[in-house]
Symmetry: C2
Subunit: 141 residues, 2 copies
Amino acid sequence: MAQNGSLQIGEIAALADVSVDTVRYYEKLKLLPTAARTNGGYRVFSVGMADRIRFIKQAQEMGFTLDEIKQLFISGGGENQCKNVRDLIRVKLTELEDKMRQMKSFKGFLNRHLVACENELDAHGKAASCPVLTTIEISRK
Amino acid sequence: MAQNGSLQIGEIAALADVSVDTVRYYEKLKLLPTAARTNGGYRVFSVGMADRIRFIKQAQEMGFTLDEIKQLFISGGGENQCKNVRDLIRVKLTELEDKMRQMKSFKGFLNRHLVACENELDAHGKAASCPVLTTIEISRK
DNA sequence: CTTGACACTGGTGTTGGCTCTAGGGTGTAA
DNA sequence: TTACACCCTAGAGCCAACACCAGTGTCAAG
């Protein structure tokens, strides 16, 4: 609506696929810079802010908390800013790699159970007794 | 303490690396079978329960909610029990694969920034202006 | 100059997954 | 027989990350 490529909160929220509440919340948490205002008191955003919000969302999906993401943005400032960011990214990368390894092995675990499940179903149909449940100690009352 | 290889709540909690509150909480949510009691009213657990608790914790780390994990344990019962578990595992597997793909691309993203960071540091030392922060729109006040 | 869509603030509510507290009982060891 | 570590229950509290609400203001269109 506004010229200059500047958007109001509803528009940026739609672009970034979040709610307006979320945008205000992120501003309050300093995940976004304090937005400028119109005379009427409406926040105005540059289009690029949508990218930043999407970045936040993606990082979140990767298991980062909002606080950690904020650290990534702030990370001390000053002389060693770049170094701090680098260190943070390194830590996050190893965490990510760790988690991926874990997921891989858990995937294997689920896969093995899936196969067992299907064999049992082939052999006994609907009434098959589930081999997954018994494996995970369900039966030890 | 107790013979028979049966443990009390503090012992099983330590084994599974969770708090006693967590164990009681899981029992309340039916993630664990209702524990037997001593005359004095103390819960008693078999050693194997620690495995089950650890399974729950791991599934949780993989992004499953406690409720979903419960579904895995219960999943209807009766005739189609095995089929239900199978279907659930299938859904979870595709979710897991999805997430792993996402993580891989996010890892690449972080890696690229890490490289940029290190180049900048090589070139300008401590005072390097961080290329990550500017990229993610931090500078657009 | 009113209507309707959108925006504002401050506050409360929600969900998941614990965590803590109060007030009490159990059990073994000195 | 007292000390101490552990256990019990019911319920309140807590944190993250929003969602929702009331009461009010803004503003472009007709």
